[in-house]
């Protein structure tokens, strides 16, 4: 067989079961690709020995006819997921050499179903960022390059964030799929930037247990893959009720893969007029194109109004930092992670946290402390939560009026180069999440699907937003878009000879 890293996750699965390929061969091919791709800085920790050991076990199971749903499929794990015995960093210095004695529920679900881990993927520090530039271990480089005339320019493109290691690894064929997390767009925006598929399921669909918390009421786990089918396969294994997370929902997980190829005829797709603002002409053109693709597939297009859309991002930048400031209080140098010496306990705390947290994390923790502090709580936090109710109500009303899903752009533009945004004004970077953040605020499922390439040769994505726990409909609609859109050719590995 030719290079097995070029298979989709579904193709690899079928090839393994058909014994056209062994898990060991498949894993070795990925390990080699990872070794050659260190210039991308996608992996923070590589675990080739563990992967090969698991692959041998998978081969034995396949030989015995005992293959599990994801048997022998090599994946990357965002380094926000705690992995037993494998260093977990959240891309922060403050966790230092933290090695969990436990495994996150979602990654454990993947191993239960036979998948194996290639290593831990880079991310924005504590998932706070939209470009993977806030990682304490350096930025991730996108495998994509910007077109300049007939060739490419030298600028290093960001893979989006915070799941930038996940999106880059999947786009560069370093893993068949990767886990990711999404608090304000951290699955969908990097997927859109790298021509991959990323789904943030409904809040409560996946357990948050064992995933380093950023903003508890917004965080959700989800996969990034190269096809819609692959995302459906991965999510089915990742999702499910977990008694250790009482915000996870106790409802059966459907066979999402069955939704791929299902007819979308008669589905009502809402087009929110408020999303016209915020994006460039190129993304608006793609959006129109997406509308046409769905209409051609038989869906019914209706204009809808989500009037509180423009308040979602500012409200998010109150709620997420507030929760984060509290969630990150546990990083105090007492029980694990970095400790800086101090005169006394307070001095130890302040020095440890100043050194351990990067600039963006420090900024958000401080904003969060401010909006919760005495005299500001009602004006900021409570008001933002009221606005959150209004944002959710907008969606509730649209769905109640018979809309099955909402189609929007995923990002305002294609990916930008490292250092290009947010250096002077943090808000400039925050605007990247303008189309994705409403979905987290309302707890809804959202999927990013590639729509094509922009004039700069970089991918552009569309987003579908669904009813709560109706991921299946999103998969069928996303598959329809995927088959209508021009095929994305993932970049050739220019990085293998990069220094």
């Amino acid at each position: 067989m030719s290079d097995p890293t070029h298979l989709s996750l579904a193709e690899a699965r079928d090839a393994l079961v058909a014994k056209k390929l062994s898990a060991t061969e498949l894993t070795k091919a990925h390990i080699e690709a990872i070794e050659k791709a260190r210039a991308l800085n996608a992996f923070l920790t590589e675990t080739p020995e563990l992967a090969l050991e698991a692959a041998r076990d998978s081969d034995a199971r396949i030989a015995r006819g005992e293959a599990r749903p994801l048997e022998g499929l090599p994946l990357g794990i965002k380094d926000l997921y705690c992995t037993k015995g494998v260093r977990t960093t959240a891309a922060s210095r403050i966790l230092d050499d933290f090695t969990p004695t436990y495994e996150s529920t979602v990654s454990a679900n993947l191993w239960r179903d036979g998948a194996l881990m290639l290593g831990k993927l880079n991310l924005d520090e504590f998932a706070m960022g939209s470009s993977n530039e806030t990682s304490a271990f350096g930025p991730v480089v996108s495998p994509w390059r910007r077109k300049k005339g007939e060739g490419f320019d030298d600028a290093k493109i960001v893979p989006g964030g915070s799941s930038g290691g996940s999106s880059a690894a999947v786009a560069a064929r370093l893993a068949l799929g990767a886990t990711a997390t999404d608090t304000g767009g951290s699955i969908r925006q990097p997927a859109a930037f790298t021509g991959t598929v990323g789904i943030k399921p409904t809040y409560g669909r996946c357990s948050r247990w064992g995933i380093v918390a950023f903003a508890s009421s917004l965080d959700q786990a989800g996969p990034i893959t190269r096809t819609v089918r692959d995302a459906a396969i991965m999510l089915r294994s990742m999702a499910g009720h977990d008694p250790k997370d009482t915000t996870s929902v106790d409802a059966p997980v459907p066979d999402y893969e069955a939704a791929i190829g299902a007819s979308v005829k008669g589905r009502r797709i809402g087009i929110p007029k408020e999303y016209r603002i915020g994006g460039g002409a190129e993304i608006n053109a793609l959006w129109d194109q997406g509308v046409a693709w769905l209409r051609d597939a038989g869906a019914e297009i209706v204009e809808i109004s989500l009037p509180h859309t423009r308040f979602a991002l500012p409200a998010y930048y109150i709620i997420a930092p507030a929760e984060a400031s509290s969630n990150l209080a546990r990083y105090d140098g007492v029980r694990y992670g970095l400790r800086e010496k101090g005169r006394d306990i307070a001095d130890m705390y302040e020095k440890t946290r100043a050194k351990g947290f990067g600039a963006e994390v420090r900024r958000r923790v401080m904003i969060g402390a401010y909006v919760l502090s005495h005299g500001y709580y009602d004006a900021f936090y409570v008001r933002a939560q009221k606005i959150r109710s209004l944002i959710k109500r907008d969606f509730d009303e649209a769905f109640a009026a018979g809309v099955d899903a909402v189609l929007t752009p995923a990002t305002p533009s294609t990916a930008f180069a490292q250092g290009e945004k947010g250096a002077a004004d943090p808000v400039e970077m925050y605007l990247n999440d303008i189309f994705t953040v409403t979905v987290n605020m309302a707890g809804l499922p959202g999927i990013a699907v590639p729509g094509g390439l922009g004039a700069d040769g970089l991918p552009l994505g569309l987003q579908l937003i669904g009813r709560p726990f109706d991921e299946a409909t999103l998969f069928s609609l996303a598959a329809a878009l995927e088959s209508a859109a021009p095929k994305i050719d993932f970049p050739q590995p220019w990085w293998t000879d990069a220094k």
Partner: protein, 95 residues
């Protein structure tokens, strides 16, 4: 609402993050940029709107009163920066 330097220091202390004197001004500017960005929320009419407490319309599940956890002090202390016997050790706390 605008954050002054004294406020920056107060917030930094509340968050237990040491700030250097030369950082204070820049931090203040950054925090103000974010506060300016969220300022438009004050224009929204939220009269009679309940703050959202959960996006899920479900009841909180409860655990049975059974001891199912603990008994592994070694694992609890496995990543400790400083420990003595089975205690975490920190710089002296003055009461």
């Amino acid at each position: 609402m605008s954050v002054d330097q004294a406020t920056v220091r107060r917030i930094a202390h509340l968050a237990r993050i040491a700030v250097e004197d030369q950082e204070v001004e820049r931090l203040g500017a950054e925090l103000n940029a974010i506060l300016d960005f969220v300022a438009e929320l004050s224009s929204v009419d939220v009269e009679g709107v309940e703050p959202l407490t959960s996006v899920l319309p479900m009841q909180m599940k409860k655990r049975q009163d059974v001891v199912t956890d603990g008994g592994f002090a070694d694992a609890i202390l496995a990543n400790a920066p400083e420990k003595d016997d089975h205690y975490f050790v920190v710089p002296k706390v003055v009461e």
